[in-house]
């Protein structure tokens, strides 16, 4: 899994991976749920990539402390990418 890719999980849902956490050894992705037309919705999730028995799984992050830290990470990346354009 990496940024700017679309993953399909076993329940048929599709997520677009927007940002990957930088300040972690594990991979945490800021993802947005796609609708049937593959257009981004307003529902987001922070997904943890888990490798298990040769397969790739995702797990939703709901721990508020982890979430807080990851979101700060993503905010930092957002500023890196678009900080100059935000004005």
């Amino acid at each position: 899994m990496r940024e700017d890719t679309v993953i399909t999980i076993n329940n048929g849902k599709k997520y677009l991976l927007l940002l990957e956490s930088e300040d972690t050894t594990e991979s945490y992705f800021l993802a947005v749920l796609l609708d049937e037309k593959e257009e981004p919705t307003n529902n987001y999730a922070v997904l943890e990539e888990v490798e298990k028995e040769g397969k790739t799984f995702i797990r939703r992050v709901s721990d508020p402390i982890i979430l807080n830290q990851l979101l700060a990470d993503y905010k930092s990346q957002y500023n890196d990418l678009y900080g100059d354009q935000a004005a």
Partner: protein, 803 residues
């Protein structure tokens, strides 16, 4: 001869035939009186239908329902109409409604395409952004002009103006029958279908010019001065008689007598009738009789037709309904008519949305005030900028609501929109949908039913007093997870966590079954992230935690401090180990070890804020004034103290997650920065190296393993030797590189260090590998090339620090 005239002749011809047949039959054969005329009984229904068809034609196709004329026609023995002529006889009101829908639908398609597909955009005449392709831009502007014409009931300067515009769009040129029905009249004599394009701007200029200017006045004078010739067409038309000419410009037509027209054009609502309207002559120039229809009120808010039951005898005794004049919306009395919701204009939608926002803001402010009233006397309070006393914990939110209110009053635009959205996200109102954002900034033409889910976490809307993470802000509410989650469960809709229970079950795992690259997102990522409210999400989350969970905040502070102390001690220890290894290493390894220590020394200097130097004469590393070996001892002690403090802070927190209990600050890396470390903008070098790492991962499957290894090695070297990267940046890059390499290894299904195929690695080298990259093994081997280096002098490692 146009379609209508031909039809009229056919109708009359058939009527004549029916009458003749009765005359021939004489007294024989059953007779029925139809509309006062004796006809054979078998022809009675057909005769009445023919009469009704005449009435409808005389009334400019005004009819009951959509297809009354065609229904009546099917009861006659007239030859079937060609398909392209059938549209001529559909109720023009319906046709115009349909036409407008088609226009709007096409415009929506173009806007939607521009929003998500087009890279280059250009502003159309109505201010919306469309694809910069000239053909598409022209089409959109033509559609806009067509919509303007449709809104004023197809009142155009020249007969074929609308035709020409439509021809330039994907809708194409209409059939003659349809066009005549839309216009409400046949083409005037001398009018030719245009071969040259009509400028879409001229429609707007015509409309602007029509706002009470001379052009309309001239038209009125021209028309009212012309003599009106009622009823010039005899019922029975002789074939030799010259067919009726369509009304000329100097004869009254549908535009005549509109003394109020100039004002109506200015304020034209779609299909909105004027208050009073003089009776209009019909296609034949005859003066119609009193209508049995209702003129609707001008206001769209009152657009509720009054229904009275349809009376059969009306059609027999009275004449056809009045021809709908320009600007007049006549809905026949029909009990089956379904009321149509009036479509709001852009401005009306914006006003409604603003009012809705203001209402929500006020509602939440009232809620906060009531919470204070209920809270009792011992609660901490604060006075807001508008003089209200509220609970301290709601102060930030309340102030945000005040600012939002002020922004709405001042007017929302693209400049302050982001501020408004960020403020909104910090309140319980949460994120706003993209559609509503567009409405408020006025960037769409028509809005469908707004997305009811503004806040992606909207679930249980409980007042967030004690447990603010439950449903408040953009943090998704978490609920107790079932033991065996269903396979079709959406990971974004997890139930809430019960904060009273410190132990939380892990979230379920969902297998990734497919992955595909999506390069489109690169050009739209900023928009998507803005739509998600990335800036607001983090602010809201931080605000929620820091305001309402001070213990966690303190714990994070303690953990960060402990982490930093631990890292300092760890790095210092690493440098000492490298120094000890140095004397055991070959020349190439010595270079690598010294390079590593140089890099670590830089990191250590950043962390400790003291200079870290290597004396080339004594070959001793110093941290400030201390020798490295001494520094290791003191830093280790500091780390231990900090760790103990952090452990205390953790234990004190009553509301914790399982992960946090185990791993401290979420277990997110040894140098977890997060909330407390400054999130300064990263350097260009960092971004460049990050891109290189991303490229390494992206090209993993295309390049052979050797090339990947080489690329990884080069990146690693750049990270080590860089003088501009900060400590945090360096660490982040190493982590990313490590992750990328492990993924590429999996992709190639071959480990870089294969112990079976290669020489066993020396213990010293293994230690070196472990120290250089955050405690994990170097993924690439030290090749023979690297071993050929310049020899470096060193002293006995057992006595002093080396190099």
């Amino acid at each position: 001869m146009n379609i209508i005239e031909q039809e009229k002749r056919n109708i009359q011809s058939r009527i004549d035939d029916i009458i003749k047949e009765k005359q021939l039959a004489g007294m024989a054969g059953p007779t029925e009186i139809a509309a006062g005329i004796p006809v054979l009984q078998e022809h009675a229904t057909e005769y009445k239908s023919l009469l009704r068809m005449q009435e409808i034609i005389d009334a400019n196709m005004a009819q009951d329902g959509i297809n009354e004329y065609l229904d009546k026609r099917s009861q006659t023995k007239l030859a079937p109409l060609p398909n392209d002529e059938r549209e001529t006889f559909i109720n023009p009101m319906t046709l115009r409604f349909k036409e407008r829908d088609i226009i709007v639908q096409r415009m929506r398609e173009i806007l939607s395409d521009a929003k998500y597909q087009s890279a280059d955009k250009e502003r159309a005449n109505d201010g919306n952004w469309v694809n910069a392709d000239p053909k598409i831009l022209e089409e959109y502007n033509s559609l806009d002009a067509m919509k303007t014409i449709a809104n004023r009931n197809f009142n155009t300067k020249s007969y074929y103006e609308y035709y020409a515009l439509r021809s330039k769009t994907a809708l194409g040129a209409p059939s003659d029958g349809r066009y005549q029905a839309l216009m409400g009249k046949p083409a005037p004599a001398g009018e030719i279908k245009p071969s040259t394009a009509v400028n879409a701007e001229s429609v707007h200029s015509f409309e602007a010019a029509n706002n009470g200017t001379e052009e309309v006045q001239e038209k009125i004078e021209e028309v009212t001065s012309a003599p009106v010739e009622p009823d010039t067409i005899p019922k029975q038309v002789d074939e030799e008689q010259k067919p009726l000419e369509p009304p000329r410009n100097d004869e009254p037509d549908l535009m005549s007598g509109l003394s109020q027209r100039e004002e109506e054009v200015e304020e034209q609502q779609p299909f909105e009738p004027p208050i009073e309207e003089p009776v209009q002559p019909n296609l034949n120039g005859t003066t119609p009789k009193a209508p049995d229809v209702i003129v609707l009120p001008a206001s769209t808010e009152e657009l509720q037709p009054d229904y009275t039951p349809k009376q059969e005898e009306n059609h027999q005794e009275t004449s056809a309904p009045t021809a709908p004049a320009i600007g007049e919306s006549l809905i026949p009395i029909h009990e089956e008519l379904i009321p149509v919701e009036p479509k709001l204009t852009k401005e009306e939608l914006m006003i409604a949305t603003i009012k809705e926002e203001q209402s929500k803001i006020q509602s939440r402010k009232n809620e906060i005030k009531s919470l204070y009233a209920l809270a009792g006397f011992n609660v901490q309070s604060k006075t807001t900028s508008d003089g209200q006393i509220i609970q301290d914990q709601h102060y930030e939110e309340y102030e945000s609501l005040i600012k939002m209110d002020n922004i709405l009053k001042a007017g929302l635009n693209n400049q302050n929109k982001e501020e408004y959205l960020n403020l909104r996200a910090t309140t319980t109102l949460g994120l706003m949908s993209l559609e509503k954002q567009d409405i408020l900034t006025g960037s769409t033409i028509e809005i469908e039913e707004p997305n009811p889910i503004e806040n992606p976490t909207a679930g249980n809307e409980e007042p967030p007093i004690e447990h603010p993470t439950e449903g408040q802000g953009p943090v998704p509410p978490i609920e107790p997870e079932p033991e065996n989650p269903k396979p079709d469960e959406d990971p974004t809709k997890n139930p809430k966590n019960n904060p009273d229970h410190p132990e939380k079950e892990e979230e379920p795992l969902y297998e990734v079954v497919a992955t595909k690259a999506w390069n489109w997102v690169k050009g739209h990522k900023k928009q998507i992230l803005i739509g998600l409210g990335i800036t607001a999400i983090t602010i809201a989350t931080v605000v929620a935690l820091t305001q309402l969970v001070p213990a966690i905040y303190a714990m994070m502070q303690a953990n960060a401090a402990a982490t930093q102390a631990s890292n300092i001690a760890g790095i210092a220890a690493e440098m000492v180990k490298n120094s000890q290894l140095h004397h055991l290493s070959v020349a190439s390894e010595k270079v690598a070890l010294h390079s590593a220590n140089t890099a670590l020394g830089n990191i250590l200097s950043t962390l400790t804020k003291v200079p870290v130097n290597f004396n080339t004469s004594t070959y001793i590393w110093t941290v400030g004034s201390e020798a490295l070996t001494d520094f290791v001892a003191t830093s280790a002690a500091s780390a231990a103290t900090a760790a103990a403090s952090a452990a205390d802070a953790v234990a004190k927190v009553g509301f914790l997650s399982k992960a946090s209990l185990i791993t401290g600050v979420g277990g997110l890396g040894t140098l977890g920065a997060g909330l407390l470390m400054p999130m300064s903008k990263k350097s260009k070098e960092f971004l460049a190296l990050k891109e290189e790492i991303n490229a390494l991962l992206a090209n993993a499957q295309e390049k052979p393993l050797d090339e990947q290894n080489k690329a990884a090695q080069e990146i690693s070297s750049k990270i080590i030797v860089s003088n501009t990267l900060t400590e945090r940046e360096r660490t982040i890059l190493f982590k990313r590189l490590q992750k990328a390499i492990s993924k590429t290894q999996k992709m190639s299904k071959q480990t870089i260090i294969d112990k079976k195929e290669q020489e066993p690695i020396k213990d010293e080298v293994k230690k070196l590998e472990a120290e250089l990259v955050e405690g994990d093994a170097l993924p690439f081997d030290i090749t023979d090339d690297l071993k050929e280096v310049i020899d470096v002098n060193y002293t006995d490692a057992t006595k002093t620090s080396k190099f």
